[in-house]
Symmetry: D2
């Protein structure tokens, strides 16, 4: 039975001992550090729920590969229905944690490589797919958490990888040996990469033949020699370390790291693309579509929380019946469900890959993410509106609990009816935790920036076809 318990995940992660630094210190135990624990709880819930009977429809799937029920995050969707369940699982997790799930990027890199390796093999007679499915079997059997590492630091974005002044600004092969390869470079903005068992690396953009050393994909255990991470410092970090749970706003939290590959050896068995520059662009597009569609669950899930919290604040302020409050809630819901609809449409209009995996519709997957980059801000804006000024002015938990100051806070920050100051502060802090910080970065740049989505959308929708339709109706007689 391949499904790990939450405790099993934590124990096995402790054994991995990923190398992560923060403020000049090596984090000795990732499973207890106050900046990583909230992400461990976020991932942990995917293990816990997969073991619950009533959740197993969403959180697990039968894997034909190892012929057993596996965690959905280790399973490559085979059908429209499985794709829809993935979206709904992500939304449910967003509801439960107020966050994206940090197991999802890895899942989408796996999704991408499953069919890409198959197609490269078909085109070039290689045997990546067998290697990959062997690795995937391991992931499924051991119920591993996988981090997907895609985004390179990029240096000068107007130059290709091979044109950069420093050749290491994109991850690349520095040596090819009989038993494997050596890679060097870094991956930036890696969400949750500190608390997973394995990292799976793939290229971040289309390549030319000159960039072929950069066209590499592989898996690496999160404790490989030469591999280490630097944790980023986010606005709420210090409060996480020093404050109490009310100050944190949300029990769950993510983290982002800079992952450095300082000459890391990768055995051939774990190499899934090697100088396959012609497939690099297609691979990143496929990953992006998988990951963008998942946002129609994950981001929508935490936006649900924000909408609910804003409604709650309005109620605690005594204004829930005001017409403008109702209008704003209706608008927030409409925006959020519009995002969700784009993801569902991407699942509905998908197709089967040559490998048998189910691919989403790229146009709608990209549209989903493009809408997120704008609508998230609109929803946050209205949530701040409904929260009132205390969105930015709540006192600390220490003061709330203070014997002398506490009573004044209780007295003056109480809400309508029986709503207490603590309740109002808790909800305001939750909205703050989700909407003031790094999740804005996720909404904007996670799985790629808006311009990338616009380009894909324009390419997917053949404008010349629309021009023909119009020309025909206008009675133009050109061929």
């Amino acid at each position: 039975m391949p499904l790990k318990s939450k405790e099993g995940y934590v124990e096995s992660l402790k054994a991995v001992r990923p190398t992560i630094f923060y403020e000049g210190q090596k984090i000795e135990d990732v499973t207890t550090h106050p900046l990583l624990l909230p992400t461990i709880e976020n991932i942990g819930i995917t293990y816990a729920l997969a073991q619950r009977e009533e959740e197993s429809d969403l959180f697990t799937e039968f894997s034909p590969l190892i012929e057993a029920k596996v965690n959905r995050y280790g399973h490559v969707p085979q059908s429209r229905e499985e794709m829809v369940k993935r979206i709904k699982m992500d939304r449910r997790l967003g509801n439960l944690t107020g966050l994206s799930n940090y197991r999802s990027t890895g899942a989408d890199v796996l999704n991408c490589l499953e069919s890409m390796t198959y197609e490269i093999d078909q085109a070039k007679g290689t045997s990546y797919h067998k290697r990959f499915t062997r690795f995937l079997s391991k992931v499924q059997s051991e119920d591993l958490s996988v981090g997907g590492t895609v985004t390179d630091p990029k240096g000068d974005r107007s130059l290709r990888p091979s044109e950069q002044e420093d050749p290491d600004l994109y991850v690349h092969v520095t040596a090819e040996m009989s038993d494997g390869i050596v890679v060097k470079g870094a991956k930036a903005n890696q969400s949750g990469a500190g608390v997973v068992h394995e990292l799976v690396v793939m290229p971040t953009r289309a390549m030319t033949v000159k960039d072929r050393d950069y066209a590499v994909a592989f898996a690496v255990p999160n404790n490989a020699p030469g591999l280490f991470q630097i944790l980023s410092r986010q606005p709420g970090n210090a409060a996480r370390v020093t404050g109490g749970p009310i100050d944190h706003g949300n029990y769950y939290a993510g983290h982002e790291t800079l992952v450095i590959f300082n000459e890391v050896f990768i055995p051939w068995e774990r190499v899934f693309m090697f100088r396959e520059w012609e497939f690099s662009g297609k691979a990143v597009e496929r990953f992006a579509s998988y990951h963008r569609i998942c946002y129609s669950g994950a981001v929508v899930g935490y936006l649900d929380v924000v909408i609910g919290a804003a409604a709650l604040m309005a109620k605690m302020n005594g204004v829930s019946r005001a017409a403008h409050v109702q209008e704003k809630l209706a608008e927030m819901i409409s925006l959020n469900e519009t995002i969700h609809a784009c993801g569902l449409a991407a699942a509905l209009e998908g197709r089967q890959a040559a490998s048998g995996a189910y691919l989403m519709n790229d146009l709608f997957a990209n549209l989903c993410k493009l809408n997120i980059t704008k609508m998230t801000y609109d929803i946050f804006r209205m949530a701040h509106d409904l929260t009132g000024g205390m969105i930015a002015t709540s006192p600390s938990e220490t003061d709330l609990r203070d014997a002398e100051l506490g009573p004044f806070i209780q007295k003056y920050m109480r809400g309508a009816g029986s709503y207490t100051a603590e309740e109002r502060i808790r909800v305001a802090r939750l909205i703050e935790a989700i909407s003031f910080g790094p999740l804005l970065g996720v909404a904007m740049h996670g799985s790629g920036s808006p311009q990338a989505q616009k380009i894909t959308i324009t390419r997917q929708k053949d404008i010349s076809e629309l021009m023909k339709v119009a020309a025909h109706l206008a009675g133009l007689r050109r061929k």
Copy 2:
């Protein structure tokens, strides 16, 4: 073989002889009048394509009711797949005609009544469903065009039907007889009602017991005694009558009428709801959802044309490579596909009615229409931007053809490369025909106004559930 040819449709319509007035005159032959002919062409294409082998997948469906292949507009969808095909058929028609199809409202009233009559029978032991399916069989077997007439004039919108000063401001029963009923009132804003064989009438809003006489649904042939229509005068009407085809901009066009029921007798066999006030609200919601989802095909279809035409204008003006043009096209496509996605999501997340018919998801169906009421204007705005000033200043076809003036127009209004003045005028007129006129009214009010959609969305998405999700995550300990 129930599929009529386009000619068959026109001939049979000529035989019906609907009673329509315009500018004080009775229209003697609806099949040749310049203001009705363009709608006949619009409906005619649904007959023509249903007979083409290569289009039959979209335009026809096997009807279990009469066990034959019927036009999709006469068929009640039985599955998600059939619902999706309806949307795609509507989009294709929008592409081909630059319009919504005027057979669709009727189709959606039929869709609604099929399951509603079944559910009323179940609840109240009535036998509406049998009557209805008998009528539906006739529609299918004879391949009839049906107009759906829903919107009452409403008078004072703050009052219920029974509270109006004039009791006739909503269609209602004025007499109940052994062989049928007599109805009086009117239906406003009826699109295409002048060129269909049958009208099917249903209530436009929820009712109370006091309004029970208004809770009535029935079918009536478009030549029943006491039934007549007044054609509305729209901005382009006069040009339709006097101008040439280039002036018209679009070969196809709709029309709207005020349908008056001046004491019309309806035999029991054609009565599908009679004083069923408790079901009136549910019925109109169901119709609305069916019709709103169809807009994700129909409106999207003609917006495709506008986008293509705008791209064509940019090309003819020599600016198609300008970055801002590319940005605007990407944005127009993104908006339009967002609408489409909402419709597809409504189909994906549907459910089976008790009668076996397939019902869409109401939330997404309403969201689709709500987005249309805003996004259509945004798309038109960008199309006008790309068209340039001639969107509003093209000379008449007569002048273009004039021996003396024509050469000046040809000379001065030519485009880049070999694009001629006529070609530019044709495309500008097409955009004008779609975006300057009554289709703005359709986008805004067709199938109900935006506030109706917001209300349904808010009702469909239980905000108290979202509040619970947020309260849980914020650590509130209330029950």
Copy 3:
């Protein structure tokens, strides 16, 4: 006393006899033609009000040039206060006519040339300014209506005037003689050009030395040999000719023409720029700023009408107290006043030209127009929303007056309380007249398209200055 009466304007215009064609016919008397009369009424009101004591503060100004009180449309503003009055006069006219005023483009060409000719003279020792002020004295003394003709047909917009296949796609000099020059070409989209005494022509874009023949500005009487116009056919044209006043929706209306200069002789006395290619870009920018600021009055003025009409429809429909109606009205007002504010800011932040004329702030003037290109559509959208379906489905005036049909329309289209069908139709037609037709083209392209405004705004606001401010605060230590 230079102020003409409205009748004086009409009589003097009749004497000019401009040459205009429509549908192959020469219009014999422009002062009575149904497509030109509504513009004559629009211009006529500027004469009528200037003679009223209580309006003279807005509509007239003391001209130091001829030392007399002149119509403000013939006066070049000398101060911030006069600029503000111009904006407010335009708004008042928009309120009174539901339109821009068709005397304003000419006024802004005069405004531009007054200071430009002065500056060219200063730079090059020419004597354009004296010629120009002589012409301006005539305009003021005789209270002439002037058309500003700026927009060339442009052909391939990616090519400069001298690069076009046909050299006539921009107005240019074809001969230079002792007593004057000969010009050839056309000006497109000319609003109201059919009913003014004089046309003043200037370039539409920046030029290079190769385009010097195109860098020409001059005045020409609207009956010069070789000059003629073709009236464009707009959606409502035919209804204007055939329908009744209710059908027209608005008593006032504009018109646009293609003005053709088929080898027209211009005496030197009336030439204000001759091959001054270096000043062409600056001139068009100055004109554009003058004209864009005037939109903060004119367009705002007719949007006021639309907002008021929408509020009236809501009241007649019995829903004026609904919260969503109040929200939409507040939003419409906010958008419209935002446009107005940009114009006022442009006046406040203006400066004196070398000639003594008052120049507006270019950034805010362009911003005003850029906001119009979007906000007008948003306001129209909400107006259509509040109007209800009858925005597109009102019956004709003939049917409303018909002895048999009329009573049915009166009965079924009545509103709440005592509001009659006619009143509702009248208001719906007014909204239709303003929002369905050519005024969309004006809002978008009048005085230049949005991209032109964006370019000017970016040029006016030095982004490198903002970068320095940010770099300083971020602690960057670069020079």
Copy 4:
């Protein structure tokens, strides 16, 4: 000479010793605390610049009251020009500090009370104005920093002050004595209140006669017995305490406190409104307009910084020439200048109060703030877009400076050309500091929430006048 130096401000503030608590501790010296120092620097700059010759035009004004040059923040504007200078001073300070200035709320309460006290005296024969001007003379002569404290905690927002369960939820009079009054209650969300010499208190809403005890305005030194403050805990607080300057992102920062009046005695000399409930609504509107117009400088000023920083990031990323980057910068500038324009229009269209003070136009002042509540989010959204993923993932300053980790960060986070990792991090942190935190609360709720602005706008613009204009043009013949 009344102008204090920056050092003088700090010294005098140290002498005041305001009572402030944070995390259960009393802050012993407000002038050195890491959470208050950045606000002291923000206010300090207003002292420093007022003493510089080249800045004195903006930062000082001649006060007729004390017949000397005073800091503009202590001066009540007497004319349109002075109002415009206030806006421009605020913008300049926003440019220099990336923040609103925390001396401005107090200034606007002074502005409001100057004319309000005059008007109350005129209406009721009281003598508030003399008291007030005496206090104002002191503020000017001693160049005091004043905090404006307006917002009460409000409890149940659907109830009036006197209807609340706890009578202290709005500040009110609890005793009236021969030498003064005693007040109790609290003021929430008080920006910068910890580092000013004096607080001036006024009501936050309109009152009825039953609320008369709440209709009170007064000045109180920031060390009065019974007065104390609790500092709020904001997301970046902990990092301010522990991190280094790069982590802070911005040298300057604000703070918000809960100000508690626990039975504070106010001598009559400092009471400016006493139970003047009829003037309470007017007073808060006047304050709000003054403060909302100041946002057209202050908020615009820090948005300038964000726009410049985003442009800088794009340049450092090597993409500053990309068309979509240019489009976004143009749009950001357009939004920001639109806000500025509304403020300028409010100044232009102002009027003189009875006291001689200059009042802004309320409609435009409110519009300015309403636009801020939306446009700020739009600008931040685009800034995050241009910044790239590192907006949320930069490493800490400690790691950047770390001997072992630093070189990896330097290597992998470098930008295009010679731009270093540190430079990119500095700019990303600056954007983060401004856009991720409490300034969102300021933009939304500072000087009142958007619904308050909408209500004022609707009241200022008489919709019935617009309805009359439309009715006239539509030919309606009602009186």
